[in-house]
Amino acid sequence: MKYAGKKLVSLLMTLLFVSFLVFWAFAVIPGDPALAQLGTNATPERLEALREEMGLNVPFLQRYMRWLLHFCKGDLGQSYSYHIPVSDMILEKLPISLCMTGMAFVMVLLISIPLGILSAKHRGGKLDTVICAGNQVLMSVPPFFSGILITLLFGMVLHWFTPGGFVSMQQNPAGFFGYLLFPAFAIALPKAAMAVKTLRSALVTELGKDYPRTAYSRGNTRNQVLYGHVLKNAMIPVLTFFGMALSDILTGSIIIEQVFGIPGIGRILLTSIMNRDYPVVEAIIMLMAITVIVVNFLVDLLYRKLDPQIHVET
């Protein structure tokens, strides 16, 4: 209870801080939403009029307080570019990003856990060497590069999907998921490689401890020791990594969205920054901050589930 309360307070602190930072950033950088709208047709009078209309002429702090007040009431405002409520815009795009993140994350799990276990089980062997080498190479390949390679291979050569042929979930759910499979894969690859490395080293560390020996002494097989005893303990450091990976994927898949032509949250964020559409930027960043913190919180909870010792320490 106290723990949750503390977390909540720090969540609010972070949100306040980051929202202010964003507001301040928009006050500092050149250009404003009015100019972005008028473009090369801007004249000083029209610019002034539009600024007045958009409420940009009040001092920055006052504008921030007004935004904050609305935000607290649950009103995210309207997009300056699109003239639609920010909440509608985000609600429309969120499922796309969530699905892609979810799929990528599941792939990371599906790839890394078996490979990590396999690698640790045969540590020092040929299979282990191959997996480790593969890991190192995958980690060295820049993400957008792997995105292009995947597009080339699966899209242009194998024709498993149509590059740029994104369809929305409402239009064609199967097509939607089928398409997202590939960008998700591109996101998952390097993360999975790192996860394999983390899991492998955690497993090797755990296997070197005393309690697996105790388990062997009771007549457990190798697999029983690995799955029944060691895995759960080895997951504790890996969990931290998974948590960070999850926030990373959620907040940082802009490049992949771009390469695969997916209109996700990342893309909206980028174009909104470029258009100085700060109600949208604020909302998305709030969302991301909340996600980062909620994921951290969930990881903590899972930690507590996995590691009984944490109960007494805090």
Binding site: E48, A49, G164, G175, V259
Partner: protein
Amino acid sequence: MKKAIKKGILGLLVITTLTTALSGCKGASDKTGDENSSHITVGIAQDLEESLNPHKAEAAATREILFNVFEGLYKPNCDGELIPAVAKDYHCSEDGLAYMFILRDNVMFHNGNTVTAEDVISSIEACADTSDGTPLIPAFSNIKTIEKADESTIVITLAERDADFLSYIASVKAAILPAGQTDADTNPIGTGPYRYVSRSVQENIVMEKFDAYWGDPAYIEKVTFKVCADPDALVMNLNGGAVDMMAHLPVSQAQQLSKDFTVLEGTMNLVQAMYLNHDFAPFADERVRQALCYAVDKNEILELVSDGKGEQVGSSMFPNFRKYYLPSLNDTYSYQPEKAKQLLKEAGYENSLRFTVTVPSNYPQHVDTAQILVEQLKEVGVDVAIEQVEWNTWLSSVYSERQYEATVVGVDASNLTATAMLSRFCSDAGNNFINYQNTAYDTAYQAAQLELDDAAQTKLYQECEMILAETAANVYIQDLAEMVALRDDYTGYAFYPLYVQDIAKIKPVAAS
């Protein structure tokens, strides 16, 4: 037992992902099947990031799409002529001040209502409203009165004569909207051949053929304008079959298209130049500006940027504006590096001129051109640095605040008037972002504005162009080549002298 269940679940998961993957492929391939004939996917490089109300549409990218949905009383055709649209005819009074428009009968809005004189009046008034200072269409500040003569006749009276008035009336910005519509920003209702269906931010805009259109019906039932934000993924999107048509393709990308595509060649209808800030001390000296012009080899630029395609320009007018365009100005400054050095020496900048050229990073062709300029100017001892900025920083720092030394951009026309290209070089023009000060120019332009005779007016505008060329106002380069890729299943693409993607003219090959 427990284990068995776990394995089962895992298996299920794998199977589900596999089946969705497979059905995903099927879904994608379906699209390129039979339905093709009545559906086209048009790629657009950026989303329409503003209001969908045509009166407020400022970006060319928005206007060229909204052209399919909206019409004014008149509209341009692909030859640059103005043809009747919502109005079927007009009469201009002898003094050129009163325009009488006769409305076409039974023109329907997409919401099923008939266009009335009230709709027309409210639309024109909205564009002419001066309560914000400048009206939405600045030229409409000239409108004195808008009156309804009868149910199908509107009379617009001007304060001063304006030969270009009909061009303004024919722009998409002066489109006719239903009177009293409150949600025009997000729900466009017009009278054009296509009806707006839906939009998804950064994803697409969908339109359907409007069956009750007054004119020649469109051929294709459904159009999806798909946002393809990554220019590098574009070729794969086209070749892979996700996009059927794409305009504004650079030559480099068009060359990589598969043989399923017809590549049509046109120009972008803009004047690409290295625009010089005349307030930057060295550029106040005409000799320096001329030296830069002599130092630039336009042929090489065209060769490297677009494989020799595109049209060279020598002043602020592009070739498709045939009425005003003067091809002879292209040769005002031929490539003479020695002469350039000579002029620089005279001006006292021998091997000592250095400046920064600011380029908006979202236009790769301008960045490429800038790179070549840097190399070419290096030859004559001018040291140029490139600074890329994103578009809004460019708008703010370069265009609005004029804090720059030189910039490479393309300037286009928002309507079919010479004013659109030339007004900005008047000394006191609000958008004179190069700070050009030339009394001869101001006089000529003023005279052209007041001239009643069309031929004489054209002459005066051309004189303006000549002054710009002779004073080397900017380092004029080219009207960039643009390629339009159209899948072989379609035909009928038409180039306009303005930013227009007229989908109504495109027809499926099978149907033709």
